[in-house]
Symmetry: C2
Subunit: 208 residues, 2 copies
């Protein structure tokens, strides 16, 4: 069975759980606490030297890191990833946008709030917020004339962007001025098999 | 003909030129100067609201942003991108690693040096260097038992990682203690059709 190493409140890990739930694919889940150093132990570094979750692992020992690469792998051959070459590239464009221009601001500022680190990052905050709002603006512009990010339907590009956008307010980002994003969040939430970030799915396994 | 909007000394843009040269695909090149605001004009924002190069554009108006999504699109159906589902996912893992854990440190510190911004970023520098060296360490560990990053051969994952690794020293990163990386850089340089970051390729077009 597929095994997922993850942290429950990470948007990057939530992406993988959400897709697995929608695919109806059974999986084992190894809960780790990134704030307690669980991804920096010798045992975990042997699995992912880049010390990050999510990480998926197969019984034969194959492992794959990077949330959006995992989504791409799992969605191959399913409606969540288009077959068309151009639309696949558009899916990837939005997933690279998410990891480069979106997550480093929305997810990181959220993690500062959750971990009580806002004060010690005060000097960087305004710039981080501005960059995060810029990313939201790019999404809003796209959503002015489209219901989803690629292929005219719900794909892993939407899952990737939903993960940290739907909890943007936990990072202090207000979505009032982004009506397109708010409607899109509703469309994503209404998909068959949708689960929330805190929902317990998969078979919990303790490790190591 | 394919048109590439780009800046000559950006590693992200170099990735696309390098692959196009190796594919032998003719293209138009629109040189922009990111340091002079060429990607923040009204004309350019109409093409890419995320105000970044590289950007490719087809005569029918289709446009694609994000360097690694462009590589994936252009390499589809060629030896530079494996057919196998698992190996494709491994290629993507390394490309997302590059954009999230490597480029934000190696490319950004290099750009501070090139733009004379080191002094005003002094407070952040040590942390940025540490994260950059961590990324190099992850690469070195992989290269201890592999000649390339995925599929056992030269792919777009190597092109993506080569772009800013081969100019790491321009950002003050020393590669002396990374013999695996230095050998791999030589292997990449020895590939058929290799071009350097400053080599003039494509048909230059002025725009707008």
């Amino acid at each position: 069975m597929l095994r997922l190493y993850e942290y429950w409140n990470s948007g990057n890990c939530y992406k993988v759980r959400l897709l697995l739930a929608q695919l109806g694919e059974p999986f084992e889940r190894v809960p780790l606490d990134i704030y307690k150093g669980d991804t920096r132990t010798e045992e975990f570094l042997a699995k992912n030297p880049n010390r990050r979750v999510p990480l998926i692992e197969f019984p034969d020992g194959r492992r794959l890191a990077e949330s959006d690469a995992i989504l791409f792998f799992l969605a191959e051959g399913t409606p969540w990833l288009p077959e068309d070459r151009w639309e696949r590239a558009r899916v990837l464009q939005w997933m690279f946008f998410e990891q480069y221009s979106h997550e480093p601001y929305l997810a990181v500022v959220r993690s500062w709030h959750l971990a009580g680190l806002i004060e010690q990052n005060r000097a960087a905050l305004a710039d981080m917020m501005e960059r995060g709002y810029h990313a939201l603006g790019v999404m809003e512009k796209h959503l002015a004339s489209a219901d989803y990010f690629a292929a005219g339907r719900y794909t892993i590009a939407d899952i990737a962007l939903y993960a940290y956008t739907h909890v943007a307010e936990e990072g202090g980002f207000q979505l009032d001025e982004f009506p397109g994003i708010r409607s899109w969040l509703d469309r994503v939430r209404s998909q068959n098999g949708h689960i929330r970030i805190g929902d317990a799915v998969g078979k919990v396994v303790t490790w190591p």
